[in-house]
Amino acid sequence: MANSNTDITKESFAKVNLADTESEKITGESVSAWKDALRRFVTNKGAMASMIIIAAIVLFAIIGPHFFGYDIDDQDVSRANLPPKIGALTWIPAFNGYENGVDIYKEKNVTKNYWFGTDQFGRDLWTRTWKGTQISLIIALIATLADVFIGVVYGGVSGYFGGMIDTVLQRILEIIAGIPNLVWIILLMLIMRPGLITITIAILATSWLSMARIVRGEMLKLKNQEFVLASRTLGAGDGRIIFKHLIPNSIGMIIINTMFSVPNAIFFEAFLSFIGLGIRQPQASLGSLINDGYQMLQIHPYQTLYPGIIISLLLICFNIMGDGLRDAFDPKLRR
């Protein structure tokens, strides 16, 4: 019972006056839900690594095509089908310009190095690959933006207004979703010319459905939340409720879903390229490069390899980043 602490003296027992306000004090800096999510995201190693890789790919997509001064359509059949060769890395078998034990550069009398090799037209694959990455990213961006807008508006209207509007919109959505993807693509393929617009339309025809569903769900969930009701009782109109309350609170879900629709769009573009609906020559996208290279898979695997690696990296990184964002925004993990 006796206290052995020696530094406890008589005056330690003096009463301290804790002001009421004192006990309300919050220490630490103010963090918004965004910052909070950001912090959690930053500590997620996988997600951060993914983001860095994506950033690097984007950077290369911008500067890569200017490295050697080639155009995407710089043909020269005298240097066709060269394997990759990087001067400083010739000790690595993958970059020594040999194929099946033969120095192709010597055989064709080529002195310049092509880091990713060349294709059958003698076009520099480094340039084409990064240019293709550019196009793929742009396609993904366009498709995703459009997808986000259609999906968000459709789902938002359906969920927020509810009632008859919701019923009708949901029935339409159900019917659209009832038609398989492939059927949409086929119909498009029959009546449209390949190219950027077709790709975008093809992606749009189907991909916004999930966004619409998610946004609708969010709206249904949020519009009966007490903070929305509170705003209502304060006399807020639809506009204020939508823009101040509903959208800021569903934007996390929208971002997460976008993270997943980017790789979907990239992958889909590759699939479209494969069935001949992709980008047109001499333009290249990652999908069309893989598709071109695929013909050569057994003979010149490097022609598929690099676009393949980049597309896979993009898909993987976007997916992991999406997962990371989901965790970062997960209300259950918040304390």
């Binding site: 019972m1 206290n3 330690s12 027992f13 009463k15 301290v16 006990s23 309300e24 500590t43």
Partner: protein
């Protein structure tokens, strides 16, 4: 003295994002045969973590029992392997959870959920287990048990589900039943049914109960002994009457006086200002110091030791030190004793 259950200096830590939450900080508890011990306290004070520690159900990661012993009939459960724990759980010690709506597997028939433990621990055949399940449902007052064993949880109301959860917990006649807020999710009229049921069952089976709640009414109704937790620590323990009529810790005072009295007129409730401490950065001294109207310098820097007030009551508060000034507890707690 040999206790049925004895917790010694238990420390539980959760390693979560950017911090270590010290959910339980060195608690000591005893439980005897047939006794009902209530643990009351602020939300987040570590009540559930304590009970989960006893069951060996602290999720790992992120949780971990840092130090301490949990002696059940003399054996330290902390050292038990999962396999050994599985033999104890549901058989010797079982548990009821707060929310009956989510505590049952939605896709498994009620009967089967009750039978599982019976088959595992008592080696009953399917047929016998089923009969026993029907008996148990009858025991907890579910009409038509023969029919209802084959129904799914969603076909039951909240009160009935909680009865089922109790039936599951009691299936193997456990020596200890831990009830973690067993009635919080229920309406008062249903709560009364459940409390009645628990008391009856305890009389019949002699099971020791650890009752976790923050409803002092429920405590007064059911418990024999009370432990008051705050900030991961037990700040005061004693018999039911000692805690209600002769509390010594300012937090206990605050708790009691912030409750309105149904049968007496109170003009103004005595509120405890402020908010509980953040357990990821627990205060050096008494956890309650920041909100304590009697706080002294010493409280802020030094954790008080327990003062034995009677054979059964002890509290951890510097006010009980002989050097401390004498304070009168608030009159609102009714039966006032002097500190």
């Amino acid at each position: 003295m040999d206790h049925l259950l004895e917790i010694k200096d238990l420390n539980v830590v959760f390693h979560i994002f950017g911090a270590d939450v010290q959910a339980v900080r060195g608690i000591n508890l005893q439980l005897d045969k047939g006794e009902t011990l209530a643990i009351v306290g602020e939300s987040g004070s570590g009540k559930s973590v304590t009970s989960k520690s006893i069951m060996g159900l602290i999720p790992n990661p992120p949780g971990e029992i840092a130090t301490g012993e949990i002696l059940f009939e003399g054996n330290d459960l902390v050292q038990y392997t999962q396999k050994q724990m599985q033999k104890i759980r549901g058989k010797d010690i079982s548990m009821i959870f707060q929310d009956p709506m989510t505590a049952l597997n939605p896709t498994m028939k009620i009967g089967k959920q009750i039978m599982e433990g019976l088959i595992k621990h008592q080696g009953l055949s399917k047929h016998d287990a089923r009969e026993r399940a029907v008996e148990l449902l009858q025991l907890v007052g579910i009409p038509n048990p023969e029919k209802r064993v084959d129904e799914y949880p969603h076909q039951f109301s909240g009160g009935m589900r909680q009865r089922v959860v109790i039936a599951i917990a009691l299936a193997c006649n456990p020596k200890i039943l831990i009830a973690d807020e067993p009635t919080t999710a229920l309406d008062v009229t249903i709560q009364a049914q459940i409390l009645d049921l628990m008391r009856d069952l305890q009389e019949k089976t002699g099971t020791a109960i650890i009752l976790i709640t923050h409803d002092l009414g429920v405590v007064a109704n059911l418990a024999k002994r009370v432990a008051v937790m705050y900030g991961g620590k037990i700040v005061e323990t004693g018999t039911l009457d000692e805690i209600f009529y002769n509390p010594k810790h300012p937090y206990t005072w605050g708790l009691l006086s912030s409750m309105p009295k149904l049968h007496a007129k109170t003009d103004k409730l005595l509120a405890i200002p402020g908010t509980p401490p953040d357990l990821s950065h627990p205060p050096k001294g008494c956890p309650f110091a920041a909100r304590c109207p009697y706080a002294m310098k010493v409280c802020i820097d030094h954790m008080p030791e327990y003062t034995e007030l009677s054979k059964t009551q002890k509290a951890a508060c510097w006010l009980l030190d002989e050097r401390a000034p004498k304070v009168v507890p608030p009159s609102t707690i009714g039966v006032g004793g002097e500190a």
